[in-house]
Protein backbone atom coordinates (compact mmCIF):
# COMPACT_ATOMS: atom_id res chain seq x y z
CA UNK A 1 0.00 0.00 0.00
CA UNK A 2 2.79 2.30 1.03
CA UNK A 3 4.79 1.45 -2.09
CA UNK A 4 1.75 1.99 -4.26
CA UNK A 5 1.00 5.40 -2.77
CA UNK A 6 4.63 6.28 -3.26
CA UNK A 7 4.52 5.40 -6.95
CA UNK A 8 1.36 7.41 -7.31
CA UNK A 9 2.99 10.44 -5.75
CA UNK A 10 5.96 10.05 -8.06
CA UNK A 11 3.63 9.79 -11.03
CA UNK A 12 1.70 12.88 -9.88
CA UNK A 13 4.89 14.78 -9.48
CA UNK A 14 6.06 13.65 -12.92
CA UNK A 15 2.86 14.86 -14.54
CA UNK A 16 3.01 18.18 -12.67
CA UNK A 17 6.64 18.46 -13.67
CA UNK A 18 5.93 17.75 -17.36
CA UNK A 19 3.14 20.30 -17.37
CA UNK A 20 5.66 22.96 -16.49
CA UNK A 21 7.17 22.88 -19.96
CA UNK A 22 4.21 22.15 -22.18
CA UNK A 23 5.87 23.45 -25.34
CA UNK A 24 9.00 21.41 -25.01
CA UNK A 25 7.25 18.22 -23.99
CA UNK A 26 4.48 18.52 -26.56
CA UNK A 27 6.97 19.00 -29.38
CA UNK A 28 8.88 15.98 -28.16
CA UNK A 29 5.68 13.96 -27.99
CA UNK A 30 4.69 15.12 -31.46
CA UNK A 31 7.93 14.14 -33.15
CA UNK A 32 8.00 10.90 -31.22
CA UNK A 33 4.45 10.07 -32.26
CA UNK A 34 5.29 10.85 -35.86
CA UNK A 35 8.19 8.40 -35.86
CA UNK A 36 6.13 5.65 -34.27
CA UNK A 37 3.37 6.42 -36.73
CA UNK A 38 5.66 6.03 -39.74
CA UNK A 39 7.27 2.87 -38.45
CA UNK A 40 3.96 1.31 -37.50
CA UNK A 41 2.41 2.28 -40.81
CA UNK A 42 5.12 0.54 -42.80
CA UNK A 43 4.93 -2.54 -40.65
CA UNK A 44 1.16 -2.77 -40.64
CA UNK A 45 0.86 -1.97 -44.30
CA UNK A 46 3.44 -4.39 -45.64
CA UNK A 47 2.18 -7.17 -43.43
CA UNK A 48 -1.41 -6.66 -44.41
CA UNK A 49 -0.55 -6.44 -48.09
CA UNK A 50 1.57 -9.58 -47.96
CA UNK A 51 -1.29 -11.42 -46.35
CA UNK A 52 -3.64 -10.07 -48.97
CA UNK A 53 -1.45 -11.10 -51.90
CA UNK A 54 -0.94 -14.55 -50.46
CA UNK A 55 -4.68 -14.97 -49.96
CA UNK A 56 -5.35 -13.97 -53.55
CA UNK A 57 -2.72 -16.29 -54.93
CA UNK A 58 -4.31 -19.15 -53.06
CA UNK A 59 -6.84 -19.20 -55.87
CA UNK A 60 -4.12 -19.46 -58.51
CA UNK A 61 -3.26 -22.82 -60.16
CA UNK A 62 -0.70 -24.97 -58.41
CA UNK A 63 1.41 -25.37 -61.53
CA UNK A 64 1.59 -23.25 -64.65
CA UNK A 65 3.38 -24.70 -67.69
CA UNK A 66 4.89 -22.36 -70.23
CA UNK A 67 6.42 -23.36 -73.51
CA UNK A 68 9.75 -21.80 -74.24
CA UNK A 69 11.17 -20.90 -77.62
CA UNK A 70 14.70 -19.60 -77.81
CA UNK A 71 14.54 -19.01 -74.09
CA UNK A 72 11.42 -16.90 -74.31
CA UNK A 73 7.83 -17.56 -73.37
CA UNK A 74 6.02 -18.87 -76.48
CA UNK A 75 2.50 -19.95 -77.31
CA UNK A 76 1.38 -23.38 -76.21
CA UNK A 77 -0.02 -25.72 -78.91
CA UNK A 78 -3.32 -27.31 -77.90
CA UNK A 79 -1.84 -30.73 -78.66
CA UNK A 80 0.30 -30.45 -75.51
CA UNK A 81 -2.89 -30.64 -73.48
CA UNK A 82 -3.41 -34.22 -74.65
CA UNK A 83 0.15 -35.23 -73.90
CA UNK A 84 -0.13 -33.92 -70.35
CA UNK A 85 -3.55 -35.17 -69.43
CA UNK A 86 -2.18 -38.70 -69.10
CA UNK A 87 0.46 -37.69 -66.56
CA UNK A 88 -0.06 -39.38 -63.19
CA UNK A 89 -0.85 -37.10 -60.29
CA UNK A 90 -2.45 -34.41 -62.45
CA UNK A 91 -6.07 -33.78 -61.61
CA UNK A 92 -6.89 -31.29 -64.30
CA UNK A 93 -5.21 -29.43 -67.15
CA UNK A 94 -6.52 -26.27 -68.68
CA UNK A 95 -5.27 -24.10 -71.50
CA UNK A 96 -5.18 -20.43 -70.51
CA UNK A 97 -5.42 -17.36 -72.62
CA UNK A 98 -3.96 -14.16 -71.30
CA UNK A 99 -1.77 -11.28 -72.37
CA UNK A 100 -0.95 -7.65 -71.91
CA UNK A 101 -2.35 -4.70 -73.68
CA UNK A 102 -0.84 -1.24 -73.67
CA UNK A 103 -3.48 1.44 -73.80
CA UNK A 104 -1.87 4.56 -75.24
CA UNK A 105 -4.91 6.64 -74.34
CA UNK A 106 -4.07 6.46 -70.65
CA UNK A 107 -0.50 5.17 -70.89
CA UNK A 108 -1.26 2.10 -68.84
CA UNK A 109 -0.85 -1.65 -69.20
CA UNK A 110 -3.85 -3.93 -68.86
CA UNK A 111 -3.79 -7.62 -68.17
CA UNK A 112 -6.18 -9.29 -70.60
CA UNK A 113 -7.52 -12.73 -69.72
CA UNK A 114 -10.00 -15.09 -71.30
CA UNK A 115 -10.86 -17.70 -68.72
CA UNK A 116 -12.74 -20.81 -69.96
CA UNK A 117 -15.26 -20.44 -67.15
CA UNK A 118 -16.72 -17.34 -65.48
CA UNK A 119 -15.06 -15.01 -67.95
CA UNK A 120 -17.21 -12.87 -70.15
CA UNK A 121 -19.82 -13.60 -72.80
CA UNK A 122 -18.80 -12.89 -76.40
CA UNK A 123 -18.85 -9.16 -77.06
CA UNK A 124 -18.68 -8.33 -73.41
CA UNK A 125 -15.90 -7.42 -71.04
CA UNK A 126 -15.47 -7.35 -67.29
CA UNK A 127 -12.89 -4.83 -66.14
CA UNK A 128 -10.91 -4.13 -62.99
CA UNK A 129 -11.69 -1.10 -60.90
CA UNK A 130 -8.44 0.57 -61.95
CA UNK A 131 -9.35 0.45 -65.63
CA UNK A 132 -12.87 1.60 -64.89
CA UNK A 133 -11.40 4.56 -63.05
CA UNK A 134 -8.85 5.72 -65.60
CA UNK A 135 -11.15 5.19 -68.55
CA UNK A 136 -14.23 6.47 -66.77
CA UNK A 137 -16.24 3.34 -67.56
CA UNK A 138 -19.24 1.82 -65.84
CA UNK A 139 -21.36 -1.23 -66.55
CA UNK A 140 -23.24 -0.85 -69.81
CA UNK A 141 -20.65 1.44 -71.43
CA UNK A 142 -18.80 0.45 -74.57
CA UNK A 143 -15.08 -0.16 -74.18
CA UNK A 144 -13.27 0.21 -77.47
CA UNK A 145 -9.66 -0.87 -78.06
CA UNK A 146 -7.37 -1.11 -81.05
CA UNK A 147 -6.61 -4.76 -81.88
CA UNK A 148 -3.46 -6.39 -83.35
CA UNK A 149 -4.73 -5.56 -86.83
CA UNK A 150 -5.17 -1.89 -86.06
CA UNK A 151 -8.92 -2.21 -86.17
CA UNK A 152 -11.10 -1.09 -83.27
CA UNK A 153 -12.67 -3.81 -81.19
CA UNK A 154 -15.61 -2.82 -79.03
CA UNK A 155 -16.95 -4.62 -76.01
CA UNK A 156 -19.80 -3.85 -73.70
CA UNK A 157 -18.79 -3.53 -70.08
CA UNK A 158 -20.75 -6.25 -68.32
CA UNK A 159 -19.42 -5.50 -64.88
CA UNK A 160 -16.62 -3.89 -62.92
CA UNK A 161 -14.71 -6.48 -60.88
CA UNK A 162 -15.26 -6.23 -57.13
CA UNK A 163 -12.70 -4.09 -55.37
CA UNK A 164 -11.92 -6.67 -52.70
CA UNK A 165 -9.31 -8.30 -54.87
CA UNK A 166 -8.09 -5.09 -56.38
CA UNK A 167 -4.45 -5.52 -55.53
CA UNK A 168 -4.13 -8.13 -58.25
CA UNK A 169 -7.10 -7.26 -60.43
CA UNK A 170 -7.09 -3.49 -60.76
CA UNK A 171 -5.68 -3.64 -64.27
CA UNK A 172 -7.53 -6.79 -65.32
CA UNK A 173 -9.93 -7.15 -68.22
CA UNK A 174 -11.81 -10.37 -68.88
CA UNK A 175 -13.16 -11.23 -72.32
CA UNK A 176 -14.44 -14.35 -74.05
CA UNK A 177 -11.83 -16.77 -75.51
CA UNK A 178 -13.04 -16.23 -79.07
CA UNK A 179 -12.83 -12.43 -78.61
CA UNK A 180 -9.35 -12.83 -77.15
CA UNK A 181 -8.10 -14.77 -80.21
CA UNK A 182 -9.68 -12.24 -82.53
CA UNK A 183 -8.28 -9.29 -80.62
CA UNK A 184 -4.68 -10.56 -80.47
CA UNK A 185 -4.76 -12.58 -83.72
CA UNK A 186 -4.14 -15.99 -82.21
CA UNK A 187 -4.84 -19.27 -84.02
CA UNK A 188 -7.53 -21.54 -82.60
CA UNK A 189 -5.11 -24.29 -81.62
CA UNK A 190 -2.84 -22.35 -79.28
CA UNK A 191 -2.96 -21.17 -75.69
CA UNK A 192 -0.81 -18.79 -73.71
CA UNK A 193 0.09 -21.44 -71.19
CA UNK A 194 -1.36 -24.37 -69.26
CA UNK A 195 -2.69 -24.45 -65.71
CA UNK A 196 -2.47 -27.72 -63.79
CA UNK A 197 -4.00 -28.82 -60.56
CA UNK A 198 -2.59 -31.85 -58.82
CA UNK A 199 -4.38 -34.57 -56.90
CA UNK A 200 -1.99 -34.41 -53.97
CA UNK A 201 -0.49 -31.01 -53.13
CA UNK A 202 2.48 -32.70 -51.48
CA UNK A 203 3.48 -34.12 -54.86
CA UNK A 204 3.67 -30.80 -56.68
CA UNK A 205 7.42 -31.02 -57.08
CA UNK A 206 7.45 -34.60 -58.37
CA UNK A 207 4.74 -33.74 -60.87
CA UNK A 208 6.72 -30.71 -61.99
CA UNK A 209 9.83 -32.82 -62.47
CA UNK A 210 8.03 -35.49 -64.53
CA UNK A 211 6.43 -32.76 -66.53
CA UNK A 212 9.75 -31.21 -67.40
CA UNK A 213 10.98 -34.63 -68.58
CA UNK A 214 7.97 -35.23 -70.76
CA UNK A 215 7.87 -31.76 -72.28
CA UNK A 216 11.51 -30.69 -72.49
CA UNK A 217 10.66 -27.40 -74.19
CA UNK A 218 8.40 -26.33 -71.33
CA UNK A 219 8.97 -24.93 -67.90
CA UNK A 220 6.71 -25.47 -64.91
CA UNK A 221 6.09 -22.56 -62.52
CA UNK A 222 4.93 -23.52 -59.05
CA UNK A 223 2.50 -21.41 -57.10
CA UNK A 224 4.56 -21.69 -53.94
CA UNK A 225 7.50 -20.21 -55.80
CA UNK A 226 5.42 -17.33 -57.06
CA UNK A 227 4.25 -16.73 -53.53
CA UNK A 228 7.82 -16.58 -52.36
CA UNK A 229 8.74 -14.19 -55.13
CA UNK A 230 5.86 -11.94 -54.23
CA UNK A 231 6.93 -11.93 -50.67
CA UNK A 232 10.49 -11.10 -51.48
CA UNK A 233 9.39 -8.27 -53.74
CA UNK A 234 7.27 -6.85 -50.96
CA UNK A 235 10.05 -7.42 -48.48
CA UNK A 236 12.39 -5.56 -50.74
CA UNK A 237 10.04 -2.64 -51.00
CA UNK A 238 9.42 -2.67 -47.31
CA UNK A 239 13.16 -2.68 -46.79
CA UNK A 240 13.51 0.30 -49.05
CA UNK A 241 10.81 2.17 -47.19
CA UNK A 242 12.39 1.27 -43.92
CA UNK A 243 15.73 2.55 -45.17
CA UNK A 244 14.13 5.89 -45.95
CA UNK A 245 12.48 5.79 -42.57
CA UNK A 246 15.76 5.03 -40.91
CA UNK A 247 16.74 8.57 -41.79
CA UNK A 248 13.71 9.93 -39.97
CA UNK A 249 14.33 7.68 -37.02
CA UNK A 250 17.93 8.73 -36.90
CA UNK A 251 16.96 12.38 -36.87
CA UNK A 252 14.55 11.64 -34.10
CA UNK A 253 17.22 9.84 -32.12
CA UNK A 254 19.46 12.88 -32.30
CA UNK A 255 16.54 15.03 -31.24
CA UNK A 256 15.57 12.71 -28.42
CA UNK A 257 19.16 12.24 -27.40
CA UNK A 258 19.54 15.96 -27.14
CA UNK A 259 16.33 16.35 -25.16
CA UNK A 260 16.99 13.33 -23.03
CA UNK A 261 20.69 13.37 -22.34
CA UNK A 262 21.27 17.07 -22.27
CA UNK A 263 20.06 17.49 -18.75
CA UNK A 264 19.72 21.20 -18.37
CA UNK A 265 21.39 22.96 -15.47
CA UNK A 266 17.89 23.59 -14.22
CA UNK A 267 16.99 19.89 -14.16
CA UNK A 268 20.29 19.09 -12.56
CA UNK A 269 19.55 21.62 -9.84
CA UNK A 270 16.10 20.15 -9.31
CA UNK A 271 17.51 16.69 -8.89
CA UNK A 272 20.01 18.17 -6.42
CA UNK A 273 17.17 19.71 -4.43
CA UNK A 274 15.23 16.45 -4.34
CA UNK A 275 18.32 14.58 -3.23
CA UNK A 276 19.07 17.13 -0.53
CA UNK A 277 15.59 17.01 0.99
CA UNK A 278 15.85 13.25 1.30
CA UNK A 279 14.88 11.58 -1.96
CA UNK A 280 16.95 8.51 -2.66
CA UNK A 281 18.72 8.01 -5.96
CA UNK A 282 16.10 5.33 -6.59
CA UNK A 283 13.24 7.76 -6.08
CA UNK A 284 14.71 10.16 -8.59
CA UNK A 285 15.25 7.34 -11.08
CA UNK A 286 11.73 6.03 -10.62
CA UNK A 287 10.37 9.51 -11.16
CA UNK A 288 12.32 9.88 -14.39
CA UNK A 289 11.32 6.38 -15.42
CA UNK A 290 7.72 7.46 -15.12
CA UNK A 291 8.52 10.51 -17.16
CA UNK A 292 10.24 8.65 -19.99
CA UNK A 293 7.67 5.88 -19.88
CA UNK A 294 4.78 8.30 -19.92
CA UNK A 295 6.08 10.17 -22.95
CA UNK A 296 7.12 7.14 -24.93
CA UNK A 297 4.04 5.12 -24.07
CA UNK A 298 1.74 7.95 -25.05
CA UNK A 299 3.66 8.39 -28.30
CA UNK A 300 3.49 4.66 -28.91
CA UNK A 301 -0.27 4.48 -28.40
CA UNK A 302 -0.95 7.60 -30.46
CA UNK A 303 1.47 6.60 -33.22
CA UNK A 304 0.18 3.05 -33.46
CA UNK A 305 -3.44 4.14 -33.33
CA UNK A 306 -2.91 6.71 -36.07
CA UNK A 307 -1.00 4.19 -38.17
CA UNK A 308 -3.90 1.77 -37.81
CA UNK A 309 -6.32 4.41 -39.04
CA UNK A 310 -3.94 5.43 -41.81
CA UNK A 311 -3.42 1.91 -43.14
CA UNK A 312 -6.77 0.27 -42.61
CA UNK A 313 -9.22 3.12 -42.88
CA UNK A 314 -7.57 5.77 -45.01
CA UNK A 315 -5.96 3.35 -47.48
CA UNK A 316 -2.38 4.26 -46.58
CA UNK A 317 -2.11 7.29 -48.88
CA UNK A 318 1.44 7.90 -47.71
CA UNK A 319 3.07 4.88 -49.28
CA UNK A 320 0.56 3.16 -51.44
CA UNK A 321 2.67 4.19 -54.42
CA UNK A 322 5.84 2.62 -53.17
CA UNK A 323 4.42 -0.56 -51.86
CA UNK A 324 2.19 -1.50 -54.78
CA UNK A 325 4.30 -0.31 -57.63
CA UNK A 326 4.00 2.90 -59.53
CA UNK A 327 1.30 1.67 -61.80
CA UNK A 328 -1.04 4.28 -63.17
CA UNK A 329 -3.82 1.99 -62.04
CA UNK A 330 -3.41 2.62 -58.35
CA UNK A 331 -5.43 -0.06 -56.68
CA UNK A 332 -7.77 1.39 -54.09
CA UNK A 333 -8.70 -1.33 -51.77
CA UNK A 334 -9.32 -1.69 -48.09
CA UNK A 335 -6.94 -3.90 -46.17
CA UNK A 336 -8.36 -6.09 -43.48
CA UNK A 337 -7.53 -4.61 -40.07
CA UNK A 338 -5.34 -6.91 -38.10
CA UNK A 339 -3.24 -6.69 -34.97
CA UNK A 340 -0.30 -9.00 -34.73
CA UNK A 341 0.92 -9.56 -31.19
CA UNK A 342 4.53 -10.13 -32.18
CA UNK A 343 4.58 -7.04 -34.34
CA UNK A 344 2.96 -4.98 -31.63
CA UNK A 345 5.50 -6.18 -29.11
CA UNK A 346 8.39 -5.46 -31.45
CA UNK A 347 7.18 -1.97 -32.07
CA UNK A 348 6.54 -1.42 -28.40
CA UNK A 349 10.02 -2.54 -27.46
CA UNK A 350 11.55 -0.50 -30.28
CA UNK A 351 9.75 2.68 -29.35
CA UNK A 352 9.34 2.68 -25.60
CA UNK A 353 12.36 0.93 -24.17
CA UNK A 354 15.27 2.73 -25.88
CA UNK A 355 13.93 6.17 -25.10
CA UNK A 356 13.19 5.36 -21.50
CA UNK A 357 16.64 3.86 -21.02
CA UNK A 358 18.37 6.70 -22.80
CA UNK A 359 16.69 9.24 -20.55
CA UNK A 360 17.74 7.34 -17.47
CA UNK A 361 21.47 7.36 -18.10
CA UNK A 362 22.12 11.07 -17.52
CA UNK A 363 19.62 11.17 -14.69
CA UNK A 364 21.38 8.33 -13.02
CA UNK A 365 24.60 10.27 -13.25
CA UNK A 366 22.95 13.39 -11.87
CA UNK A 367 21.08 11.48 -9.19
CA UNK A 368 24.25 10.00 -7.78
CA UNK A 369 26.03 13.30 -7.28
CA UNK A 370 26.58 14.36 -3.71
CA UNK A 371 23.43 15.71 -2.15
CA UNK A 372 25.39 18.56 -0.57
CA UNK A 373 26.09 20.05 -4.00
CA UNK A 374 22.94 22.13 -3.77
CA UNK A 375 24.30 23.91 -0.67
CA UNK A 376 27.23 25.40 -2.56
Amino acid sequence: MNGFARQRYLLDFTVASLMRRPGRNLSLLLVYTLVVFLLASVMLYSQAIKGKAAALLQGAPEIVVQRMEAGRHALMPAAYLERLGRLRGVAEVQGRLWGYYYDPAVAANYTVMAPARDGAAPGQVRIGAGIARVRGLAAGDVFSLRGYDGQPHAYTVAAVLPATSELVSADLMLIAPADFRAFFGLADDVYTDLALSVTNPAEVRQVARKLAERLPDCRPILREEVLRTYESVFDWREGMLLAVLAGAVFAFLIFAWDKATGLSAEERREIGILRAIGWETGDVLRMKLWEGGLISFTAFCLGYGLAHLHVFHAGAPLFAGVMRGWSVLQPHFALTPQVDALQLTTLFLLSVVPYTVVTLVPVWRAATVDPDSIMR
Binding site: E270, R275, G278, E280, P371
Partner: protein, 226 residues
Protein backbone atom coordinates in the same frame (compact mmCIF):
# COMPACT_ATOMS: atom_id res chain seq x y z
CA UNK B 1 21.24 15.58 20.14
CA UNK B 2 23.99 15.92 17.55
CA UNK B 3 27.61 15.52 18.50
CA UNK B 4 30.65 16.08 16.36
CA UNK B 5 34.02 14.82 17.50
CA UNK B 6 37.35 15.65 15.80
CA UNK B 7 35.56 16.08 12.50
CA UNK B 8 37.54 17.01 9.40
CA UNK B 9 36.43 17.49 5.84
CA UNK B 10 38.91 17.44 3.00
CA UNK B 11 37.82 18.25 -0.54
CA UNK B 12 39.66 16.78 -3.54
CA UNK B 13 41.82 14.64 -1.28
CA UNK B 14 45.09 13.53 -2.90
CA UNK B 15 44.79 16.00 -5.73
CA UNK B 16 46.77 19.21 -6.20
CA UNK B 17 43.69 21.27 -5.32
CA UNK B 18 43.19 19.40 -2.07
CA UNK B 19 41.52 21.66 0.47
CA UNK B 20 40.80 21.05 4.10
CA UNK B 21 37.58 22.91 4.87
CA UNK B 22 37.18 21.59 8.42
CA UNK B 23 40.16 20.85 10.63
CA UNK B 24 39.06 19.03 13.76
CA UNK B 25 35.69 20.31 14.88
CA UNK B 26 34.15 19.31 18.21
CA UNK B 27 30.66 20.54 18.73
CA UNK B 28 27.56 19.45 20.63
CA UNK B 29 24.18 20.66 19.42
CA UNK B 30 21.50 20.56 22.04
CA UNK B 31 17.96 19.55 21.31
CA UNK B 32 15.25 22.21 21.40
CA UNK B 33 17.61 25.12 21.07
CA UNK B 34 18.89 27.42 18.35
CA UNK B 35 22.56 26.98 17.52
CA UNK B 36 24.19 29.46 15.17
CA UNK B 37 27.41 28.96 13.23
CA UNK B 38 29.14 32.27 12.66
CA UNK B 39 32.26 33.08 10.70
CA UNK B 40 33.67 34.84 7.70
CA UNK B 41 33.18 33.62 4.18
CA UNK B 42 35.08 30.42 3.54
CA UNK B 43 35.40 29.55 7.21
CA UNK B 44 33.50 26.28 6.72
CA UNK B 45 29.97 27.03 7.97
CA UNK B 46 28.18 25.45 5.07
CA UNK B 47 30.49 22.46 5.09
CA UNK B 48 29.78 21.92 8.76
CA UNK B 49 26.03 22.19 8.15
CA UNK B 50 26.19 19.51 5.44
CA UNK B 51 27.81 17.14 7.95
CA UNK B 52 25.25 17.95 10.65
CA UNK B 53 22.39 17.53 8.18
CA UNK B 54 23.61 14.17 6.82
CA UNK B 55 24.15 15.67 3.38
CA UNK B 56 27.77 14.56 3.43
CA UNK B 57 30.11 12.37 5.42
CA UNK B 58 33.17 13.63 7.28
CA UNK B 59 36.65 12.73 6.00
CA UNK B 60 37.54 11.70 9.54
CA UNK B 61 36.05 12.02 12.99
CA UNK B 62 32.61 11.06 14.26
CA UNK B 63 29.14 12.48 13.83
CA UNK B 64 26.53 11.14 16.22
CA UNK B 65 22.83 11.71 15.83
CA UNK B 66 20.83 10.88 18.96
CA UNK B 67 23.66 8.66 20.09
CA UNK B 68 23.96 6.77 16.80
CA UNK B 69 27.16 7.05 14.82
CA UNK B 70 26.20 8.13 11.34
CA UNK B 71 29.64 9.05 9.97
CA UNK B 72 29.99 5.89 7.91
CA UNK B 73 26.41 5.14 6.91
CA UNK B 74 25.76 4.46 3.22
CA UNK B 75 24.04 7.21 1.30
CA UNK B 76 20.72 5.36 1.19
CA UNK B 77 20.44 5.52 4.98
CA UNK B 78 21.57 9.12 5.06
CA UNK B 79 18.80 9.99 2.61
CA UNK B 80 16.31 8.32 4.91
CA UNK B 81 17.68 10.31 7.87
CA UNK B 82 17.43 13.56 5.92
CA UNK B 83 13.88 12.73 5.07
CA UNK B 84 12.68 12.00 8.58
CA UNK B 85 14.98 13.91 10.89
CA UNK B 86 15.86 17.12 9.09
CA UNK B 87 14.10 20.00 7.48
CA UNK B 88 16.24 22.14 5.21
CA UNK B 89 15.95 25.82 4.42
CA UNK B 90 18.51 26.65 1.78
CA UNK B 91 20.26 29.89 1.09
CA UNK B 92 18.13 30.73 -1.94
CA UNK B 93 15.30 28.57 -0.62
CA UNK B 94 15.68 26.30 -3.66
CA UNK B 95 12.02 25.82 -4.41
CA UNK B 96 11.28 24.02 -7.66
CA UNK B 97 10.12 26.62 -10.15
CA UNK B 98 6.96 26.04 -12.13
CA UNK B 99 5.36 23.91 -9.45
CA UNK B 100 2.66 25.20 -7.13
CA UNK B 101 3.40 26.14 -3.54
CA UNK B 102 1.54 23.04 -2.37
CA UNK B 103 3.48 20.72 -4.70
CA UNK B 104 6.73 22.17 -3.42
CA UNK B 105 5.67 21.73 0.18
CA UNK B 106 4.70 18.09 -0.41
CA UNK B 107 7.95 17.13 -2.12
CA UNK B 108 9.80 15.73 0.92
CA UNK B 109 6.74 13.66 1.81
CA UNK B 110 6.45 11.75 -1.46
CA UNK B 111 9.01 9.04 -0.69
CA UNK B 112 7.17 8.25 2.54
CA UNK B 113 4.00 7.32 0.66
CA UNK B 114 1.52 8.46 3.31
CA UNK B 115 -2.19 8.43 2.50
CA UNK B 116 -3.02 11.58 0.59
CA UNK B 117 -5.75 12.91 2.89
CA UNK B 118 -3.40 12.68 5.85
CA UNK B 119 -0.63 14.40 3.96
CA UNK B 120 -2.93 17.06 2.62
CA UNK B 121 -4.35 17.76 6.08
CA UNK B 122 -0.86 18.21 7.40
CA UNK B 123 0.08 20.59 4.57
CA UNK B 124 -3.12 22.57 5.08
CA UNK B 125 -2.43 23.03 8.78
CA UNK B 126 1.12 24.14 8.05
CA UNK B 127 0.08 26.58 5.36
CA UNK B 128 -2.64 28.01 7.56
CA UNK B 129 -0.21 28.56 10.42
CA UNK B 130 2.22 30.27 8.03
CA UNK B 131 -0.60 32.23 6.41
CA UNK B 132 0.06 31.02 2.92
CA UNK B 133 -2.99 28.78 2.52
CA UNK B 134 -4.52 31.18 0.00
CA UNK B 135 -1.44 30.74 -2.19
CA UNK B 136 -1.43 26.92 -2.21
CA UNK B 137 -2.20 26.57 -5.91
CA UNK B 138 0.00 29.45 -7.04
CA UNK B 139 3.20 28.73 -8.91
CA UNK B 140 6.10 29.56 -6.64
CA UNK B 141 7.62 31.81 -9.32
CA UNK B 142 4.79 34.26 -8.72
CA UNK B 143 5.08 34.41 -4.92
CA UNK B 144 6.49 37.36 -3.08
CA UNK B 145 9.81 37.06 -1.24
CA UNK B 146 8.07 36.65 2.10
CA UNK B 147 5.75 33.98 0.74
CA UNK B 148 8.66 32.10 -0.80
CA UNK B 149 10.47 31.87 2.52
CA UNK B 150 7.33 30.63 4.24
CA UNK B 151 6.80 28.00 1.57
CA UNK B 152 10.41 26.95 2.11
CA UNK B 153 9.76 26.63 5.83
CA UNK B 154 6.57 24.69 5.24
CA UNK B 155 8.50 22.31 3.00
CA UNK B 156 11.11 21.86 5.72
CA UNK B 157 8.38 21.03 8.22
CA UNK B 158 6.11 18.76 6.20
CA UNK B 159 7.64 15.54 7.57
CA UNK B 160 7.64 17.03 11.09
CA UNK B 161 11.41 16.65 11.56
CA UNK B 162 12.98 17.35 14.95
CA UNK B 163 15.85 19.40 13.44
CA UNK B 164 15.70 22.44 11.14
CA UNK B 165 18.82 23.37 9.23
CA UNK B 166 19.11 26.79 7.62
CA UNK B 167 22.10 28.05 5.64
CA UNK B 168 22.35 31.84 5.37
CA UNK B 169 18.55 32.13 5.27
CA UNK B 170 18.61 35.93 5.48
CA UNK B 171 21.36 36.52 2.93
CA UNK B 172 18.93 37.45 0.17
CA UNK B 173 16.25 39.12 2.25
CA UNK B 174 15.80 42.73 3.26
CA UNK B 175 15.70 43.61 6.96
CA UNK B 176 11.95 43.35 7.27
CA UNK B 177 11.79 39.89 5.72
CA UNK B 178 14.87 38.82 7.67
CA UNK B 179 13.22 39.76 10.94
CA UNK B 180 10.04 38.00 9.88
CA UNK B 181 12.01 34.89 9.10
CA UNK B 182 13.88 34.95 12.40
CA UNK B 183 10.58 35.32 14.22
CA UNK B 184 9.37 32.18 12.46
CA UNK B 185 12.48 30.31 13.58
CA UNK B 186 11.76 31.51 17.10
CA UNK B 187 8.27 29.99 16.87
CA UNK B 188 9.77 26.70 15.72
CA UNK B 189 12.08 26.67 18.72
CA UNK B 190 9.10 27.25 20.98
CA UNK B 191 7.41 24.33 19.27
CA UNK B 192 10.35 22.21 20.44
CA UNK B 193 12.42 22.03 17.26
CA UNK B 194 16.18 21.99 17.24
CA UNK B 195 17.45 24.74 14.94
CA UNK B 196 20.92 24.97 13.42
CA UNK B 197 21.65 28.04 11.39
CA UNK B 198 24.76 29.28 9.58
CA UNK B 199 25.06 33.00 9.09
CA UNK B 200 27.34 35.98 9.10
CA UNK B 201 24.40 38.39 9.09
CA UNK B 202 24.70 40.62 12.22
CA UNK B 203 20.92 40.93 12.30
CA UNK B 204 20.63 37.26 13.23
CA UNK B 205 22.76 37.77 16.30
CA UNK B 206 21.25 41.14 17.28
CA UNK B 207 17.80 39.60 17.64
CA UNK B 208 19.16 37.29 20.32
CA UNK B 209 17.52 34.32 18.63
CA UNK B 210 20.51 31.96 18.89
CA UNK B 211 20.89 30.25 22.23
CA UNK B 212 24.45 29.35 21.36
CA UNK B 213 26.85 30.77 18.85
CA UNK B 214 29.83 28.81 17.53
CA UNK B 215 32.47 30.98 15.88
CA UNK B 216 34.35 29.42 13.00
CA UNK B 217 37.57 30.48 11.39
CA UNK B 218 39.61 28.58 8.83
CA UNK B 219 37.75 25.36 9.48
CA UNK B 220 38.13 25.46 13.25
CA UNK B 221 35.79 26.43 16.04
CA UNK B 222 37.44 29.35 17.78
CA UNK B 223 34.84 29.96 20.42
CA UNK B 224 31.40 29.01 21.63
CA UNK B 225 29.14 31.48 23.46
CA UNK B 226 27.82 30.93 25.95
Amino acid sequence: MIELAAVTKTFNAGRPNEYQALRGVDLAIEAGRVTALRGPSGSGKTTLLTLIGCLARPSSGRVRLAGEDISALPERFLAELRLRRFGFVFQRFNLIPGLSALDNILLPAYPLGLPYHELRARADTLMASLEIDHRAATRVDWLSGGEVQRVAIARALINDPPVIIADEPTAHLDSRLSLEFLALLGRLKEAGKTVVIASHDPLVFETGLPDRVADLRDGRIVGVTP
